[in-house]
Symmetry: C2
Subunit: 239 residues, 2 copies
Amino acid sequence: MSTKERKQREFAEREERFLAAAEACIREEGFLNLQMARIARLCDYATGTLYQHFSSKEDLLLALANRGNEAHVELFRQVQRWTAGSTRDRMFAIAVGDFDFAQRNPEHTKLLQYVHTRAVWESASPQRREQALTCTGPVGEIVTGIVREALEAGELEARGLSPMELACGPWSVCEGMQALSQVQGLFEALRIEDPERLRFRQVVNHLNGMGWQPLWDPADQAALEQLVSRIRTEVFTDL
Amino acid sequence: MSTKERKQREFAEREERFLAAAEACIREEGFLNLQMARIARLCDYATGTLYQHFSSKEDLLLALANRGNEAHVELFRQVQRWTAGSTRDRMFAIAVGDFDFAQRNPEHTKLLQYVHTRAVWESASPQRREQALTCTGPVGEIVTGIVREALEAGELEARGLSPMELACGPWSVCEGMQALSQVQGLFEALRIEDPERLRFRQVVNHLNGMGWQPLWDPADQAALEQLVSRIRTEVFTDL
DNA sequence: GGCGAATCGTGAATCAGATTCAAAAATTAA
DNA sequence: TTAATTTTTGAATCTGATTCACGATTCGCC
């Protein structure tokens, strides 16, 4: 059935072109002004054709978020390859990568936040939602891998939590700080001057609270900055 | 100028009526199906009149979120009044209250998440955004109040962070877990069975990591459950 | 009270843009 | 080559937010 396969491939290629066009549109004018018809026109297809790929605009947005996730996962893989760091430093590196990724891809970050909204999430097709969950799989594996290694090395104690549950701690700290910093003006109103430093401090605190060895002195700002810049040069060399 | 005052009062009353009607609509059919015209009609006003109060639908949604914030703040006040608990227990009580509030007001929680989205936030009027920031003020005061008290009592060390920055730690944990649990199906996919227990564990870990005395044994599940239920009966008596 | 000016409320009309679907085109099968 | 099937098309539909010209109301002043 080579013809059927070819069809499938072509279909996938077209979808990719749609997504690339959508991304271009978003770069131009932000994702709030994204128009379905414009995407189709940009690719020389009719609007209706677009709807053979995406059940709705929200569905397309989620697909776009999923697509961008690839680059995100790549960061995590880079951490995975960084065997020079301790398990704790690697977990911390995840947080640094996550932060830098958000900084470098503000539109994608906004989009991600938007599609994770209950309102939007529920308007996407079930298939797309499943795809979204699936494509966070690798992230989960990498992170729990680090946790598992730490458990085996005795650098961390499970205390009744699964590796995934343990990983959720630092994850929610990152996610939470991210969410807060997305609210424009909040940190200013709260008189918080250096959100980046604060975020990393919170992660350090949290890792300490998990008892992840070796514990850090959270007050040692210099050491923290050194670790961050070390991670940025050693792990995320391409950025 | 009593007539001018009366005008203002009537205007405010009308706004309140609009918001109440909007809330009723949302209860009926979720905030995604909220229609401006319907709200106006429910209050026996023309659509245009609604727009004298709210510059756009997003603006109205943010106003609605701000309005609901009142009940949220009330929870925090209850914690403030609970002088029987240690500072640490009080901070923990904030987390419990926050969680329970989200459970009890799912529509409001979804709405809050939605309006905090960069996309929506930026479509609201600057005045409304400011109002939103202002009305989180009391929350900040209560929480930093607890932190300050802990600092004075020597139960917590600042280590170079301001009270607000310290408070951001537990806050972001709550916010992050909240954000993750809003993504329908995520915890199931991650094989996390008891998000509530996990959330409280994360908060305990985090408070430990901040060095907030007295430290807790995070593995002591029974003690944790006891604290949670104690808080629920002693602090949030009305729920 | 009466008058013009200013403000307010109205809701039909406008506008935007997502979504649909009947017809046309292309592809496949016989 | 023709008929059946699938795909594509894009104009038409539909929903619903937003606007604005108009009439009603109130205000300040005489």
